[in-house]
Symmetry: C2
Subunit: 355 residues, 2 copies
């Protein structure tokens, strides 16, 4: 078990070791370790080695000149200059928040970026400003559109964070596939099969092989099959792709650069890096703040009271799982897999940092 501080300090020192300023390294560590503390282990410290490897092959710029390249009063397009997405994300979300302070809402599309950790970190930045936060990103192609067998989209998540007065805030953070990659990794480690509807094999046939994606198959869009409306998951992933990359000038669809350093980006990119999209809406741009927050409290309270199918399994509010994990891990610490600890020790030796 590790504390939040232990993992944060280690990650920050590694980011400094590869050339980041203390400020940028701290910001990147904030995003990265927020995944571990919230129970999204696939997006946290386990990925630190992956980010370092991208830096080693010159795909991460530790001294980025992140700048607005196009703007209106309510919008901006940002060139992240090949920064860590962990660095570019909070910067861009702050621009959205600042625009919202001025004109009610702010919308920022980002190009030339890299993976940005959990989508929910960025959307949640809006909560303390009494704004609704929105965070989208495209990602390495792993998902086949309905009727297709080619990997065309990433797991392209949607996160929306909505403030409340006294109730827990509404914090949605969901991949637009049936199952996120992290869930498959869990099954792979346990040597278990995946439910049908999560994966298809290289021929486009549904498979329960949890290694199906690595073996030439694809993840399936939310819905799972045509009969259960997988075209809607395909639509959602496409909207995320277009807002993140066609608006900004990043790569989209099958051109999105892979997260892994051992696969080179495509030779004929249609844009720069990968893309994100952020939004911030002041709730008092629509109605008086107290009114909105009180009704959000009532919304949350009423949905918690939904008559349950099983009296012991209440209906949840988006964010409940992560909130529960955070409370538990702040108290008892964060478990880290042996394989991840080995990676971290290797990184530590290379850069002279001790975990």
């Amino acid at each position: 078990m590790y504390s939040y501080e232990q993992l944060h300090t280690f990650a920050k020192k590694i980011f400094i070791a590869i050339g980041h300023t203390e400020e940028l390294a701290a910001s990147a560590a904030d995003v990265l370790i927020s995944a571990d503390i919230r129970g999204v282990d696939s997006h946290g410290i386990a990925r630190l080695k992956g980010y370092v490897r991208l830096w080693e092959v010159d795909r991460i710029n530790a001294k980025p000149n992140i700048q607005i390249v196009h703007e209106t009063p309510s919008t901006a397009t940002i060139d992240a200059d090949a920064a860590l997405g962990l660095v570019a994300g909070p910067r861009a979300m702050q621009v959205a928040i600042d625009k919202a302070k001025q004109v009610g809402t702010g919308w920022v599309s980002v190009k030339n970026s890299n993976h940005y950790g959990i989508a929910g970190f960025h959307s949640m930045m809006a909560l303390e400003e009494d704004m609704i936060g929105i965070s989208l990103t495209n990602a390495s192609p792993l998902v086949a559109p309905t009727f297709g067998k080619e990997r065309m989209l990433g797991t392209n998540p949607i996160s929306v964070a909505i403030p409340t007065l006294n109730e827990t805030p509404f914090i949605a953070d969901m991949a637009t596939t049936t199952a996120a990659n992290g869930k498959l990794e869990v099954l792979q480690r346990k040597k278990e099969d995946a439910p049908l509807g999560w994966i298809q094999d290289g021929d486009g046939t549904p498979t329960s092989n949890a290694h199906g994606v690595k073996e030439g198959g694809a993840l399936l869009p939310l819905g799972g099959d045509r009969e259960h409306a997988s075209h809607k998951g395909y639509i959602l992933g496409s909207i995320v792709d277009i807002f993140s990359a066609v608006l900004s000038g990043a790569n989209y669809g099958p051109w999105v650069p892979p997260f892994v350093s051992f696969i080179d980006p495509v030779a004929d990119p249609v844009g720069e890096g990968l893309g994100h999209f952020f939004g911030a809406m002041r709730v008092d741009a629509f109605r008086p703040k107290e009114e909105f927050l009180q009704h959000m409290d009532q919304w949350v309270a009423r949905f918690r009271q939904t008559t349950p199918i099983d009296p012991n399994v209440p209906v949840q509010i988006p964010g409940d799982y992560e909130r529960g994990m955070e409370a538990e891990r702040l108290k008892n610490g964060i478990p880290v897999l042996d394989a991840v600890i080995a990676d971290l020790n290797e990184l530590g030796e290379k850069f002279g940092v001790k975990l």
Copy 2:
């Protein structure tokens, strides 16, 4: 078979007969019959009688004073004054477009409205302005959240329309449930079963009974069951509900007034009428217009070329189905069910209008 003009003229005359001005009646008919021409029969002329019945029980105001009650440079909240949603929708979308012309994007939440036809009509208004259009609405509660057996959400659709240069535009219009109500009506008429994953019965058990919702059950959120991430459909429907109603001051969740006139709205409403949410984003608020449109063309062309599973079933672009229906129906006419024709004749006799 009926022509677009025949149905449009009839609907317009009926809307005039119940007290609308010629302008408002024409606008409402535009929205209503756009559903028939695009093949979304459940949302078109078949609903005309339902709208009239709502007017008969004083739930529709044919002389509405639709006005902005709160605004910032990029946002507005509109009180639709109990107008037809068919009237309030285009008005509110136009406000979003006008705001976008000024500050890059426009976002409008609407309260005190009624059903607004197909979501896609409103989002598509943005296309001719080279804007991305967004249209959301909440609706009568028919959907149970994951783990719940109570109907808490409507089919709460999401529509996003994205312009292109020469390719067909990207037009998504999807309920956040596995199956829209219209699909169930088709099965009911054919006396066929529904696939598991569409409906649960009154105990919360999955059922293939296509009449399950009418018999006390509920529609299931996109995903269908927990293993296939129905919580994501629940999340999406919730976001639509909150943006449409908690932002605007409309009713949300189980308080949303029913479409049918024979069920009274709840006695303790939390807001006024039902709610919509519209967005318009100028593409040149993010990058030069030609660049965006050319890359959208490339996006559409590349996704059409996705390697298909079956060489005879190509991957589609959102909107293809409706475009195909529109071309076919403009040429050959719109089929109308006998039961619907009987309703229309009844309406015609009542108001002295001939189909």
